[in-house]
Every structure is written in structure tokens, then in C-alpha cells.
């Protein structure tokens, strides 16, 4: 097997991975960086992010406000010291991207413009029309090509981490194009592989979002934190689930049920704000979990609109006018036209909640280090602790660059403190990973991979959807257990080594199944409702409430040796200045704030 020696190996070349690679290269051009990705960098799913990235720039805004919005939005399950660091570093990183060429939308005077976003008190979302992720990713990719110390391994699929004496010392990957295995020794390994939305059937995610990094860390004993928190985005295009950005509502789009009624006012988000005058944290600009839950309740009341492809509500943008829509939301117009046959200029778009984001991920500290020395993680695949139980829109794009940078700096430091190394043990592990992968060719089973994938997705929607109950979660747990056995009997039809996607998909599905198990086990263990995790059961419906006494804690999912299911533990949440309170939006929030001010005045 070919062997390489690097200082830093980064797995995943999306927003976080690219930012980390640049950070290392800038910290010290002598450090050799391996940037490994199973696709070309610009295919990474960062590309599909639409709305924007939050960073405090306006005079009427402050770090404190961004901090409070984020922590309250996360239902107090955030690491507050990390959030604090995050909001302070966000503007700097956003300006950095601007200097690198990102076409952030502008005000007439030439300064960067910001837009409103759900759950944010003040407009603070930097945006590049509705292609923010696309522009960020391409800017980062194009910027990265000027650093000769970054060696890319495009279309290389990571099979395993290399571990010795409890430290992470590299990865073994497969070159899809050449059909060769490669061992990459590195002093620091950074996982930036994105989320795991593909656990679910209906999601906004690309086909590559299969939770690879999460499963890699999990299999090496690093816990996955808060995996039960899966965000449903309230406005996915009916049928295909493609994302209609929150920016639609930030720009003034409104949601109607079948009676043409703005139903959100019935769910603690009112009173109704006039059409065309969006107000932060009111109505359509409430947080995502609340909006998705409102849809579910409307559906139960029979007030959604029935289409051949399923139930939907209407996202109405028509009052914004053609010129404004084409300037601010060009991609939305294109997507709705192409995939739904609806022109948002003329007619409302049918939308429904769809799985979008995994708040949880690989447990890390505020510097992206996991509990395994040498292993770091950032971006959606990590849980650095800023999203808590519900992520606010436009916090994740900033997360990629802020923690990409922090991780890059941390790894550069570690690389400086270590010498190059190699050992027969690492080679042995690499060979073993190669053998495990190649052994899949010899399985003579009749199971269908696509059936397993479909059943997993279906079962996850039923068990750990917008609302959850013990009963259905148990069913999902059983289903996943049998799928774990069935996947061992998938026979491959083709032994080809070059671009064998059938083989790669099988390994990916293995990763996804592991992550799905962590999600449902974490969920069934959390006997309360918080953020995106809403339960309907418990004695006298006790789990319908937030339970700060028992569950103001992170869930940790550990791999159990010998068992095919994870073990769940709880860990404390870091609270610094912002004590848990009722999470309120709309008029209720304003009343609460007034009361607080009055109290302070006394």
C-alpha cells in the first residue's frame, strides 16, 4: 500500500475542511496538509446552503444579542463559553471571506448587507443572494489553490482512522479513480465530513451526506453528542424535499394553510405581522423547530393542503414582486420552477418540513479537539456545542469557517510539537481496513442495498420525526437492528475497482446505519421535550415538557464493544451567564423582555 507522511490530514473538503486547510497553510507553510474528500471540493454539500451566515456588524446589534439568540434558540443546551467565542469570531471570519472574494450582497454604498433570519433578533445574516453556501465554498476552494502545502486527495474515500496508543495517527483511504488504497500518517486528523441527513428518507441533503466522519469517530470510541436533535427545515419543496431557504421568509415570505390563514399565530409566534413587514422572531421568523412542529399540528387538524405528492402548506412570495425576487432569491425561483413547476413570482410554493441538519455530532471541546488526542472535528459532523437542541438558520455556515479556522490553528500547534512517525502497527491497521473493504466483494448474499436504505429512511421518519413516542422509537430500534444484520448479506454484483459506486455506497450505508442508531437511542433516552426533540408521551404526558432537572444535559452515544447498539450517557452542559428560561417568541418574548427590564430597573 502506498504510504504518505503528512502533518495534518483533513477529511472532507467542504467549508470547514477547506477553511481548516487554509488555516494550517497560513499558520506555517512548511506544514504538509492532506485534504481528503470523496468528491471534488466544490461538490461538497456546503454548496447547497442558501440563506446566509450570521455575524454581528450592525450598530444596533451586539455579540450579547447573538449569543442570547443562539443559546435560547438551542433551548439552553449550548456550551455557553463556546457560543461566546463563536459569536466574537464570526464577523472576523466573514470579513476574511469577503477579502478572499466572496460576493456578499451589498448595500448601495458598497458595504456588506445583512438580512433577517429566523430566531435572530436583529438582521445579521450575511448573504450572497440565495447562494451563500455556493459562493462561500467556491471562494474557499479557489483561495485554497494558492497554497502549495495543501495536497488534495480528491475522490478518495476514507475507510478507517489509524490509532495507536489511544492517539489518532492517520487515515486509510481508497482512491476511487485509481482503485488503490493509501495510508496517510498524520500528526493531526480533522474530520469535516458534514452531516447525516441521509439517515432519513426525505431530506434536503445531497447523496454524499452519509455521516461518514461521525461513524468513523464513533467506531473508535469517540462519543457522538446530542444525536437526537435532528432539524426539520420547515420549508422543503414538496416531493423532492429541496430546500426553500429561510431567506424566503426573511425577505418577507409568508406561510398559509388551506384556508389561506397564517396558522403560525396559533402556535405562540403571533400576533400576526402584516404581509410584507417581517418582524424578527415573530411569525414566519420564528425558529425552525417551532415552525416544523406547527406544520405537524396543522396536519393533525386537517388544515394542510393535499397534493398528489403529499401534504403541504403554501409559501407565498408573490407580494415581493418579480424584480426583488430575482435579485434576492434567484435560486429559489429557479428551483421552484424546475422542480415544482411553480413560479414564485406568480403563485405560492407548496412546502413541507423536511430533514435538514444534524445538530449533534462528534463530541469536541471549544477548540475542535475530541477526547482522542490527535483527532479533531468541525462543521456539521461535530458537536462543538453551539447549536444545542435547535440550530438557528445561518449559524451553521459561520460555524464552518469559525471552527475550521480554530481547528486549523489547533492542529498546526499540535503538528509543531510532534515528530514524523511510522510504525508497523499503523501499517497493520491499514492492511486490515483494506482487507475488510475487499472482503465485501466475497459476500454471497441476496440482500438489496437500496431496500435497506429505504427501510432505514422510512423507519427513521416514523420513529424519530418531528414528534416522537416511545412505542414508535422502539420499533425503529428493532428495525435498525435487523438492518445491521441484513447489511452483512448484501452481495455486490461487480468486482471492478475503478469508481465502483456500488461498493462505496455499501460502506457508506454502514456508516449511516451506525449514525441512525445513535440518533434513535439518544432520542429514546431523552425523556423530555427540548428544541427539535419533541415527545408526546410519558406518564400524563410528562415528556411533553422540558425537564431541566434531569435533562439539561448532553447525550453521549458510545460504541459498545461486542454489542450492535450504542450505550447512552449524559454529560453536563456549560452554563456561564445565561440561565435557562422559558423559550418564547413573538409577543410573549416581548412581554418577557419588558418584565426582565422592569425587574432590572428596580
Amino acid at each position: 500500500m502506498e504510504k504518505y507522511q503528512f502533518d495534518v490530514a483533513i477529511v472532507g473538503a467542504g467549508g470547514t475542511g477547506l477553511r481548516a486547510a487554509i488555516a494550517v497553510a497560513q499558520a506555517d507553510p512548511k506544514l504538509r496538509v492532506a485534504l481528503i474528500s470523496k468528491v471534488y471540493p466544490m461538490r461538497s454539500h456546503t454548496v447547497a446552503a442558501e440563506g446566509g451566515a450570521a455575524g454581528v456588524v450592525r450598530d444596533d446589534d451586539s455579540y450579547q444579542k447573538h449569543f442570547e439568540d443562539t443559546v435560547a434558540g438551542g433551548d439552553w443546551l449550548c456550551e455557553q463559553d463556546v457560543v461566546e467565542k463563536f459569536v466574537r469570531q464570526a464577523p472576523e471570519e466573514l470579513y476574511q471571506l469577503e477579502h478572499w472574494g466572496c460576493p456578499w450582497s451589498r448595500k448601495p454604498n458598497g458595504d456588506v448587507n445583512v438580512r433577517r433570519f429566523g430566531g435572530m433578533k436583529v438582521p445579521r445574516t450575511w448573504f450572497a443572494a440565495d447562494k451563500s453556501g455556493f459562493h462561500m465554498l467556491h471562494t474557499l476552494y479557489q483561495t485554497s489553490v494558492q497554497f502549495p502545502s495543501i495536497q488534495r486527495f480528491d475522490e478518495h474515500f476514507v475507510l478507517d482512522l489509524l490509532e495507536e496508543d489511544g492517539e489518532c495517527k492517520g487515515v486509510v483511504c481508497y482512491d476511487l479513480q485509481n482503485g488503490a488504497f493509501r495510508q496517510i500518517n498524520a500528526k493531526a486528523v480533522f474530520l469535516a465530513t458534514g452531516g447525516a441527513g441521509r439517515c432519513y428518507l426525505f431530506n434536503t441533503n445531497g447523496g454524499i451526506v452519509t455521516g461518514d466522519g461521525m461513524a468513523l469517530a464513533y467506531r473508535h470510541g469517540v462519543p457522538l453528542r446530542d444525536m437526537e436533535f435532528v432539524q426539520y427545515h420547515p420549508t422543503g419543496l414538496l416531493g423532492c424535499g429541496l430546500l426553500m431557504t429561510e431567506g424566503c421568509r426573511g425577505e418577507g415570505g409568508v406561510l398559509y394553510n388551506k384556508d389561506g390563514y397564517r396558522y403560525l399565530q396559533d402556535y405562540g409566534l403571533g400576533p400576526e405581522t402584516p404581509v410584507g413587514q417581517p418582524k424578527n422572531k415573530y411569525m414566519e421568523l420564528g425558529p425552525r423547530d417551532r415552525l416544523s412542529q406547527a406544520f405537524w399540528n396543522e396536519s393533525k387538524k386537517g388544515r394542510t393542503i393535499k397534493y398528489p405528492l403529499g401534504e403541504a402548506v403554501h409559501l407565498d412570495l408573490t407580494h415581493l414582486g418579480e424584480k426583488y425576487l430575482h435579485e434576492r432569491l434567484p435560486l429559489i425561483c429557479e428551483l421552484a420552477m424546475t422542480y415544482s413547476g411553480v413560479d414564485p413570482v406568480k403563485a405560492p410554493v407548496p412546502v413541507r418540513p423536511v430533514v435538514h441538519y444534524t445538530m449533534g455530532g462528534i463530541e469536541t471541546d471549544g477548540n475542535t479537539a475530541t477526547r482522542m488526542p490527535g483527532l479533531y472535528a468541525g462543521g456539521e459532523c461535530a458537536s462543538v456545542g453551539i447549536h444545542g437542541a435547535n440550530r438557528l438558520g445561518s449559524n451553521s455556515l459561520v460555524e464552518t469557517i469559525v471552527f475550521g479556522k480554530i481547528g486549523g490553528d489547533a492542529m498546526a500547534e499540535r503538528a509543531h510539537s510532534l515528530k514524523d512517525f511510522d510504525s508497523p502497527e499503523l501499517a497493520r491497521q491499514a492492511e486490515a481496513a483494506q482487507k475488510r473493504a475487499l472482503d465485501l466483494f466475497d459476500v454471497k448474499g441476496t440482500e438489496s442495498m437500496s431496500k435497506i436504505r429505504h427501510e432505514m429512511g422510512q423507519s427513521m421518519e416514523e420513529g424519530v420525526g418531528i414528534y416522537r413516542e416511545e412505542e414508535s422509537m422502539k420499533k425503529t430500534i428493532e428495525t435498525l437492528k435487523t438492518l445491521q444484520n441484513r447489511i452483512k448479506n448484501v452481495g455486490l454484483t461487480d468486482r471492478g475497482r475503478v469508481f465502483n459506486t456500488e461498493w462505496m455506497n455499501l460502506i457508506e450505508l454502514g456508516y449511516t446505519l451506525d449514525v441512525a442508531q445513535c440518533m434513535v437511542h439518544s432520542a429514546i433516552n431523552r425523556k423530555e421535550s427540548r428544541g427539535s426533540h419533541q415527545r408526546l408521551d410519558g406518564p400524563d404526558g410528562a415528556y411533553k415538557q422540558r425537564d431541566d432537572v434531569n435533562f439539561l444535559k448532553h447525550s453521549l452515544a458510545f460504541k459498545q464493544e461486542g454489542a450492535d447498539e450504542p450505550r447512552i450517557e449524559l454529560s453536563p452542559v456549560k452554563i456561564t451567564t445565561f440561565q435557562p428560561a422559558k423559550r418564547v417568541y413573538g409577543a410573549e418574548a416581548e412581554a418577557a423582555e419588558a418584565a426582565k427590564k422592569a425587574k432590572e430597573a428596580k
Binding site: A48, Y95, G110, D111, Q142, T143
Partner: protein, 250 residues
Amino acid sequence: MEATQKTMKVTVLRYRPEQDKEPWEQTFDVPYHKDTSVLEALFYIKDNFEPSLSFRWSCRMAVCGSCGMMVNGVPHLACKTFLRDYEGKDMKIEPLANFPIERDLVVDLSDLIEKIERIKPYIIPDAKNANMPLNKNFKQTPMQMEAYLQFAQCINCGCCYAACPQYKLNPKFIGPAALTLLYRYNVDNRDAGAKLRAPFLNSEEGAWSCTFVGYCSEVCPKHVDPSSAIQLGKKMSATDYVFNMIKPEH
């Protein structure tokens, strides 16, 4: 299956490098409805008939640029092309033209990637702005942004290279997407690197290999209009040429 569902004969070009001497065709009957994309047709084939069929895909929403391929001889994104538009016809899906075929519908894009990276696709600020503090942005009015924004929409799918006869005839040609990106950075008011990019633009394999066929702009799924960027690049290069004649640099 619904009674209204129709089927289409879809022929896919197959090539397995370890078994086949050259590509061959395989035909499938694919059921479809009004929203079925070519990509979904390929999913159907992979799930139900041929798990070994390989193709690149990811986002399903025409922004990641993975699924460029030839549909009835024309470069398209599979996820943005629909069977309904080929009703009454057969469909033939082939890998992107003008690139070596790696396997089935997967081509070797390394030449495209190398060219994109060759032309220095990043902001090269002038000395005055090189160390701008990170609490300040460059001034860029909406109009200054408009000058390049359209050309920054490229998703690197490779459709324009598959459409370009000049690239077919002379693979040294830097080609539509990379030249568009070059122009995009040259006209960005934050950038001062035009001089460093000029050798690529001015060369025979740069803008001057283009004969303005215009097919790249026709097939571009993001309406980037590369042929326009190249003509504007030619104007830029010609100006540079004339100035260089009047006042040579060395």
C-alpha cells in the same frame, strides 16, 4: 404503479475498464411521471436493474455540478433534465463528451480542474489592500459586483467543455469555464492580479483558441454565458496587446 405512468426506453453507455475493451450500450425500460429527472431515471436503473452502473451525483438541485452528462448528444445536468421533455422519443445517456471515460458515466475531469486552478482563481490584492484588517470590507457597490457576478455562478460541471469543439480539437485550450473564472477575477474591483493572469489569457491556448461557436453558453445549466466572458476577455487581451506594442514592458 399508477395507471398513468409511462415508460421510456433509456439507453446508457456502459464501460467497465477492467472488463471492456470499449464502451457498449445497455437499454432499460424506465417508468416515469412528469417530475422524473434523468438522475432519478438512473437511480431507478441502479436500484432495480444494474447496481453496478456508476455515475456521479450529489445535491439533486443543480448546484454541486456532479452530474453533467450527455443526454441525446447534448450536455446536461442529469438532475435538471426531465424525461417529460423527451416524450415520444428514446433517450440515450452518455458520459460527458471530450473527456476520457473512466467508467460508465464517470469521466476524468482532472484536466478541467487543473485548468481552473492554473489561472490563479483568487483575489490578488494590491499592496495597499494586502493587509486590510478583519473588521472592514472592501467597498464594492452593487454595480461593481454586477460586473463579475454572473461569471461567478459557474458550478464546474464541465458541460461547456463537452460542448466546445475547439477543446475537442485541441485539448490544450484552457476552455470556457476556466477563462470565465479568469475574467471574473480580473473585473472584480478587489483584485489587482490581472497582470499575473494575463499570460494565460493572452496565449494561443487562452482566449485566442476560441472561435465563438457559442455552444458553451447554449448548454450552460447556470446561464453563466462563458462565450461572453471569453469575448470580453479577448477585448481585454487585445487592449493589452496594443498597449504593449506602444510601450513594451521589457
